[in-house]
Symmetry: C2
Subunit: 432 residues, 2 copies
């Protein structure tokens, strides 16, 4: 079926994921050869530190002292980049590999979200594969599904839960009735959060994944126009309020076409309890794709960890072994489009707003007056006195309103002397 | 990327699905060419009746009076079989097509479940693709995911809801509080059930799909050893009882490896309300795959209809356009295994049993005595008197017990004079 019956692989980066992949490839060489009619052979390995203590034995004869040699060796067919980061050695490795006509497999979402368009052009020119299934939602085969299984579809929306750490924190705050800090501390102990979880919590991780998914779904170039909020500001009171109102809070990535404009956004969202996405708890990831003719498709699985990531890396490697040459972004760079990606300020949202205020006369009237002046109409209002009765918390659910009006309200009320805490704005639902 | 820049397609069978595919291919020729770097060109069409009134125009110059000519024409690269049925013209077409080195795309689960092994050998010998994504769960890209996206995994269980009609009936009986007959009648009116829904209701449709999935998951040949029950015997009382006990009833297909033996089974199952699979309502399909290293993966979507099926057919056609030659069952026929597929009689199940009995002294004692003699231990027993108080309904939930013991109990109690209706046995849960 394929001309070359062996393909030589260099694995660069031997951390948790690289190590797992290395062991997996050694012990599954036979079955992978049978399935792909071509043998995956590890020819080189390299990482920052040769002598670091590892849980597995490495074959020192395969070690490259200069990882870039992998890009120059005539014997290398596939380079697996597991260094990480959008710049520095990872960037150097992948650019050089593609320029030297090596197939590349990477788990590096930051690199693809930043340089994917450029890298894709080089891969296409040189007729090699650039595969990044592992960069988006680990073991969930969403990239392959978009490029192959769902190739027939005109997609108008892709959304979901793309970050296991933040989803674990939100669902644990809800289920165990604990606050953000405690849950985060525990998540670190359990290995569900990294020691520096910044990009997981501030939405950046989801943003990188969403940019990649958007460009695949809409045949466009990667676009920087994206609204990003994390979960850092969500507190237990919001989760409780959401529950009372029939919602769960989830950190969603959403990319959609409305009136020929694309909106990309990452933010905590109130989701009806009965909806599918509200039921995704813990470190799971889920991607929902709305397209024609297929309707709605959902893919759910483990989003991170060496096991799930290796499943994705092996699917990429296998695709190359079978000679399944593809455009990295589904369609040739010449055919990808510059589409209108818009900021969300003019998009309509129903929203949850929370104001913690001093309990004194005129406050409620002042707040509702500001809503009215900004032409935001109120669907529901709940005022909860605090236990001390000196303060109270005012929850307002709005009808569909322009995002900029909602933000204006927050800005105006924030300054008021009766405000005792930063006001909150959490958007509701997926579609408007 | 690919040598041949045009591939010629013959579509045989122009019913709802064939018609939709025909129109889709004509109007999406350009975008498919761009994505696959190869143009899909419809060269021939054929169906039983040339002059049948169709909702779309057909190009009569492309019409073949003898559909088998498509297998002999040198100009045909891909044959799409949409005739249906395991025997007759569909069988003749696909065997001939593969023998004549044509790629085949089919939506025919009956044919693949029966002759897939033989067909696969011919395809492999002749180095052509035999693709059948549309045969299993319509728009859910499960075949492609098993063969490509999840290729790394050793799968130990595949299960799910594979039939939209029966799932629609069960979930509507539950939600609208209606009985089987009424719901079925309505389902026919709404187009959710065919005029002859026999194979949808008796489990045969699910069985064909499950056999195909098993062989893909376990790298085995297709095996006839499968336990099949449908939903015909489920009545409203069972649904109500399930609800009271915290369950939903779903028609599941389950194939699993336990102690190196494979069990394939299709039957209504009591599933905990809180579980993911219990939340799949209406005509949706969902497939759950448990494997290593990936963990659990879920794929959900529309299981039937021309739109979803066309999405699957186009993914198959695109794979061929890109020259992504694959073994039809993931691995070469020489490497597929004859595994031990076992009948379920020795497998353990917790179960729900229902006995409608005359309300007279000694009945309960007789029933519990029969359980005891068969060494089936009772976890829970509920006796509901009927409104007339002459009869009552006894519901028993058992601990894990051998399937043959459960069936023996049914057989023994069925004969008793106090029994006024056929007793029921519904197994509980996925794993034991």
């Amino acid at each position: 079926m394929i001309n070359k019956k062996i393909m030589n692989i260099a694995i660069i980066g031997l951390g948790n994921i690289g190590g797992y992949l290395y062991k997996y490839l050694l012990s599954n060489k036979k079955i992978l050869s049978k399935k792909n009619n071509c043998t995956p052979n590890i020819i080189f390995i390299s990482a920052k530190n040769k002598n670091r203590k590892r849980k597995f034995k490495i074959d020192k004869k395969k070690w490259l002292n200069n990882y870039l040699e992998a890009t120059q060796s005539k014997n290398v067919d596939i380079i697996v980049e597991l260094i990480g980061g959008a710049e520095g050695p990872a960037k150097k490795l992948v650019f050089n590999a593609l320029k030297n006509k090596k197939h590349v497999v990477t788990a590096n979402k930051a690199l693809i979200a930043k340089y994917g368009d450029q890298l894709s052009k080089i891969a296409e020119t040189n007729n090699v594969n650039l595969e990044f299934e592992a960069a988006v939602c680990g073991g969930v085969p969403i990239i392959r599904s978009l490029k192959e299984g769902l190739i027939a579809n005109k997609i108008n929306r892709v959304y979901g839960i793309f970050n296991g750490t933040s989803n674990y924190i939100l669902s644990t705050m809800d289920k165990k009735n604990e606050d953000f800090k405690n849950v985060l501390l525990n998540a670190k102990k359990l290995g569900y959060a990294e020691s520096n979880p910044k990009s997981d919590l501030n939405g950046d991780d989801v943003a990188a994944k969403l940019k990649i998914l958007s460009s695949l779904c809409f045949n466009s170039f990667i676009d920087k126009n994206i609204h990003v909020e994390g979960i850092n500001f969500i507190d237990k009171a919001d989760i409780d309020n959401a529950n009372k109102l029939g919602y769960k809070i989830k950190l969603l990535g959403v990319s959609e076409i409305l009136n020929k404009r694309i909106y990309q956004r990452v933010h905590p969202t109130l989701i009806k309890k009965s909806s599918y996405i509200a039921s995704i708890d813990g470190v799971l990831n889920a991607v929902i794709v709305d397209g024609q003719p297929v309707g709605q498709n959902v893919i759910q699985g483990e989003g991170a960890g060496p096991e799930a990531t290796t499943s994705a890396l092996i699917s990429d490697i296998s695709s190359i072994l079978r000679g399944n040459i593809k455009f990295p972004f589904s369609i040739s760079s010449n055919e990808r489009k510059k589409l209108k990606y818009k900021v969300i300020s003019d998009r309509l949202f129903s929203a949850y707003l929370r104001f913690d205020v001093l309990d004194k006369p005129g406050v409620l009237s002042n707040i509702t007056n500001i809503f009215s002046k900004n032409k935001v109409s109120i669907k529901r209002l709940i005022q909860n006195p605090s236990k001390t009765k000196k303060n109270s918390s005012i929850i307002i659910i709005t009808h569909d309103s322009k995002d900029k009006s909602l933000n204006k309200i927050i800005k105006q009320i924030k300054k008021k002397s009766y405000i005792i805490k930063n006001p909150k704005l959490i958007r509701i639902g997926i579609s408007n």
